[in-house]
Amino acid sequence: MSEKINFIIDGKECQSEEGKYLVDAAKENGIYIPTLCNYEGLKPKGSCRICTVKINGRFATACTSPVHDGMNIENETEELKDMRKQIIELLFVSGNHFCPACEKSGNCELQALAYRFKMMAPRFPFAFPNKEIDASHPKIIKDQNRCILCKRCIRGIKDEEGKSYFAYQNRGKDSLVVVDRKLAAEMTAEKAQQAMDICPVGSIIVREKGWDTPIGDRKYDKAPIGSDIENN
């Protein structure tokens, strides 16, 4: 058992164990630090930057930063909230996120964060990029229009030998998350559902399945993302 340490988030005294990732340490203390590319059980990546906080005055990603004794952390400041909102807005304008036509709407983390940050309209112009929908696999559809390149599927969906069903292709603005054709051909229905669930947006969709939860009963219909942590 690691030793107990003390740190401060937005003036609140918090306790946790030395070396724990800040996102998890904050959660133990009832404080929500928004995340998007982070997923419980996966090694943190720090790629989406939504969890950016200020540790002792310097910017850092809370999902990859271990907590130490005496740290002073800023989380819910106006500066950080607006920065996070800007990231969400950039993700909305850089892809094609048509919520009314998306199976994941209501259960989508990108959308839920936009609700939490009260994004009424993005401040940036829309790129409307030309993206493909890959519907060539028996169990899943990979819609590149909605992909935010968080790598959660690459890191989390693997076969018994540890091979990933998903992979990165190309670089920079041409980056894509693609499906391994051979592995996808053997994909079980259970694995396909896991892939859909690990995707924070609607980029991985289980085939032959449409909308199954009525509006009003979906995950983020009634309470904002993170409120379960804050109300604990």
Binding site: F98, S105, G106, Y115, K118, A121, P125, F128, K222
Partner: protein, 182 residues
């Protein structure tokens, strides 16, 4: 004091946002006490007859006529509000944005599976018809928009609360449940 004047229009939309405006139910009776309608499909006034206080825009801009109407609204409305996903993000009409316009027209008029009557293979190109734009634009990329009400459609309560707050000059209370993108 005369009543505030309200104008509404539907550009590249489906009239769902206007339906949601009607969804305020019997509060519509309160609304006509609160405001006077000018150019709007609600009262069928086709052209502006005076300067308006509030303009509600449903739908984005997919052709030259939409741009013309939107600019006309900006000129005649002191406060302009984007109503719904299409006005704010382009919405479903913007799903054509990744497809070249030529391909869209060919699919719609020549090669689409439901095209049977167009025996002369004509793609309509009459000067009387509005020109399609290269892509569908959200309203804020054409004119300045003052407020945004997201939703597909925006919830009736959201529209009602917004109008009342604007008309009465009170602060708006927006509970979490009313702001949705679908």
């Amino acid at each position: 004091m005369s009543k505030p004047v309200l104008a509404t229009t539907s550009l590249a939309g489906c009239f769902g946002c206007h339906m949601s405006l009607l969804d305020i139910d019997d509060r519509i009776l309160d609304l006509i006490e609160l405001v006077e309608f000018n150019k709007s499909p609600i009262d069928d006034i086709k052209t502006f007859t005076k300067q308006c206080d509030i303009g509600l825009i449903e739908g984005g801009c997919c052709n030259s006529e939409n741009v013309h109407v939107l600019k006309d609204f900006r000129k005649h409305c002191n406060i302009l509000i984007s109503l719904g996903e299409c006005a704010i993000m382009g919405g479903l009409p913007a799903m054509r944005n990744g497809i070249p316009i030529k391909e869209c027209l060919r699919e719609a008029y020549l090669t689409g599976p439901s095209v049977t009557a167009n025996t002369e293979h004509i793609i309509p190109n009459d000067p009387e018809l509005p020109m399609m734009l290269d892509k569908v634009y959200p309203c804020q990329e054409i004119v300045k928009i003052d407020y945004y009400l997201p939703g597909c459609p925006p919830r009736a309560d959201l529209i009602w609360e917004t109008l009342v707050a604007l008309i009465k000059g009170t602060e708006i209370n927006l509970p979490y449940e009313v702001i949705k993108f679908d």
